[in-house]
């Protein structure tokens, strides 16, 4: 397994720039997710890594070899990449076993039962289905075959393009977990592209947020969620309350009271105006506790939890705060509540 390094990558289609200087490191053996809204160019980035498109400028290196750069270009068939496209794209005219063995040398393919293909099918949990045809499989099974097919060539890196998007919600979680486990055991270097932040945060070891044609931040999921590089990114990944605050020593004063500052913050001095990030689950809510009095404006009920828009009484002009409570709480619009925030909180200099 090799690491992948992307440096200063540019790609435009016609006059429309898609990638404007992407820098990305994918360490060997890691699963890195590229997270971006649709149209952000994440699939383009993946296709450039795979070699289906050629970059306008910049360098892509897999291991020690430069596969796309000023010096030259390596065609997809010589890159040793395991590509798993969105719909699986199994070859409909071939059996599952033939699909898995497609990339193997002819000698191994003709050997009839290739032990390797069977073993891989076993790995993805589809042992014994080798003689079926793709249309006889469910969507989740097809996706697993596509994965086995990609792994069969012992790729330097596996590229997955929204591999779970076409699956039903209940299948998605299980296939995702299986894939994660398979990669972890094999130590696979993998890049996964997705627009689903839940998927990115729960599946990948590192998440790269793609914004405006550049990687805005690449970090482990907890870091990306709790310590985003800028307020825009905080809103892009999950719900976020961005409050004005005043920093004094290690404490930030906000309308939710004085909160300790996350020690990881390095961009701030010891005092001054700041913008504070408070995630919805950092706010405790209760009708009886002491805290800031507030009123519930609306409630979006999701079953396992509920997301409330809450207007604090001491800041009637400010936008309502987003608060997450467990689904067991029943707090209809109009309920009077009190708020208390839990630190430490993350902050940036106010702009």
């Amino acid at each position: 397994m090799r690491q992948v390094a992307v440096t200063g990558l540019y790609k435009a289609f016609g006059a429309h720039p898609v990638l404007t200087g992407v820098d990305l490191e994918v360490p060997a053996g890691s699963l890195t997710a590229i997270l971006g809204p649709s149209g952000s160019g994440k699939t383009t980035l993946l296709r450039l890594m795979a070699g289906f498109e050629r970059a306008d400028a910049g360098i892509i290196a897999i291991g020690d070899a430069t596969v796309d750069g000023p010096g030259g270009y390596v065609t997809p068939e010589r890159r040793r990449i395991g590509y798993v496209p969105q719909e699986g794209s199994l070859f409909p005219h071939l059996t599952v076993a033939a699909n898995v063995g497609f990339g193997l040398p002819a000698r191994q393919r003709r050997g009839g039962k290739s032990g390797k293909g069977d073993a891989l099918l076993e790995t993805v949990g589809l042992g014994g289905l080798g003689r079926r045809y793709p249309h006889q499989l469910s969507g989740g099974q097809q996706q697993r075959v596509a994965l086995a097919r990609a792994l069969a060539i012992e790729p330097a890196v596996v590229l997955l393009d929204e591999p779970f998007a076409s699956l039903d919600a209940h299948l998605r979680a299980s296939v995702r977990a299986d894939v994660q486990e398979i990669f972890r055991r094999a130590g696979t270097t993998a890049v996964l592209v997705t627009h689903d932040q839940d998927e990115a945060l729960s599946t990948a070891g590192r998440v790269a947020a793609l914004r405006d044609g550049k990687i805005a931040q690449c970090a482990p999921p907890e870091d990306l969620y709790r310590r985003p590089a800028d307020p825009g990114l905080a809103r892009f990944i999950g719900d976020a309350n961005l409050l004005d605050g005043v920093l004094d020593g290690g404490v930030v004063k906000t309308l939710l009271g004085c909160l300790p500052l996350d020690p990881a913050v390095t961009s701030l001095g010891t005092a001054g105006q700041v913008t504070v990030l408070i995630r919805p689950e950092q706010i405790d809510i209760g009708p009886n506790e002491s805290g800031i009095p507030a009123r519930v404006m609306s409630c979006r009920y999701h079953g396992h939890d509920a997301v409330l828009d809450v207007q604090p009484g001491n800041a009637a002009a400010a936008p309502p705060l987003v608060v997450r409570v467990t689904g067991a709480r029943h707090l209809p619009a109009g309920s009077a509540v009190t708020l208390r925030a839990r630190g430490p909180v993350f902050a940036w200099p106010a702009d």
């Binding site: 200063g8 435009a12 970059a55 400028a57 997809p76 068939e77 590509y83 596509a146 405006d212 805005a216």
Partner: protein, 541 residues
Amino acid sequence: MTAAPATQPGHQEPGHQEPRHQEPGPGPRRKAPRPLALLTAAAVVAAILALPLVFLLIEASGAGAAELASLIFRPLTWSLLRNTVRLTVVVTAACAVVGTAAAWCVERTDLPGRRVWAVLVVVPLAIPDFVVSFGWHSLWTWAHGFRGAVIVMTLAVYPLVYLPVAASLRMADPGQEEVARSLGVSSVRTFVRITLGQARGAILGGCLLVALVLLAEYGAFEILGYQTFTTEIFTEFSGYSFAASCALSLVLVLLSLLVLAGDGLISIRGHQARTSRTGPRVSPPRRLGWRRWPVLALFAALVLLALGIPVASALYWMAYGLPPALSGGANVSLLDAAGHTALYGGSAAAAATVLALPVALLAIRHRGRMRLVLERSTYLVLGMPGVVVAFALSYFTERYLAGFGYGTAPLLVACYAIMFFPLALVGVKASLARAPASLDEVARSLGQRRLAVLMRVTVRLAAPGLAAAFCLVFLSAVTELTATLLLIPTGTQTLATQFWAYESNLSYSQAAPFALVMIVVAAVPSYVLGRFFQRPGQTGG
């Protein structure tokens, strides 16, 4: 930070932390590797297809402007032009009405026996036009001239409108009609504004084909005694007046290209948008109620006239015609003629399919100006009627090969392959569309070279469609008369030419079996084709 005009790729400021406004991509873009082999192959095909037009122009320039002008600007040309245009307009309009109405009834109403009618109304397409005209003219002498030509040609070629319209109605989003109705638009106005709008491209495309067939038709008009450019070119050519046939060919090609250009102008507009990712929903059929009886009667009449009369006529002459011994004329074995027909048709079909493959691949899988130019240039063949292609090829052998190759099978096969290339291209493109590009990409990521991908994935998936393209060309070649008469290898006969020989002799009883065999031979593949193109596009299974 000054945005200095960066000339070197990757020469951005090292501290990229702060995202700046989007700079344009620095320096000249790197070129993606071009599919050189494919481009070369497609260019060779385009060159082959351009040969007839090139030869025609060479011949024309050899004849000289003055002579050409004197041959073109004479009363005969004007009367031919009037005949040709008048017939083309009337028959095209008639086909548009019959084809569209039939397609709508079959696809969108609860007409009893829709599946059966869907096959029966298409079969007449398989019957050669000259066999249809033989059927009518041999039974009733009033089927003659303009009137005869309108009746016969409408019945022979309306399926060219029916087929694309039926397909587009089948694929069209019924939601649009439902939305229109929900917005308070009456059912009649919905039909005009939505349904016809959805099918507009298909109707125009069908009309284009009809017009091109009419411009190129020879046999039927010869039997019906109706003079058009094509019949006149044929006559002049047979009389060795090369300059005259060349001059008339130029006018005919110009007419065909005009028709093509008109279609190009129209089809630029009109996009179809469909947001749903699932397959087309089938619209609930419109109830006909009591109206089903007159509609059924009309369908029965259409099939009777278009299919019944040619078949019945052939059977009639076989049963009641003069016995062969009395009618005279050389007796050629039906089997012998059928064998030659199959040989020439099969070779032509294989050649055309192979020629179409690189052009179709380029058209479907690649972008770029070269692709567009190459693909468009092959459309020019559509504007070359068979008589002109045959004329141009025989001129070529005459002038440059000292007659070598003239009257041999390869020349006839080449002529067929060029003439029917557009048909093959349609079929091959449709079949390649069933092999999505994503599969190619996966195959390449698995370490397969382009050629291996083509053989192991693309062609395998496209195989049914390639077979359909083969059938389409085979079918057309088997029932081709004009070019066959001009280029038939010395000493051999095909079904069409032998039929023609007997027919010209008025040996109807001997011509009839040949007509019947052609009907059967052509009807079977056309049935298979109909089934193929009726299936919705799918990649699975």
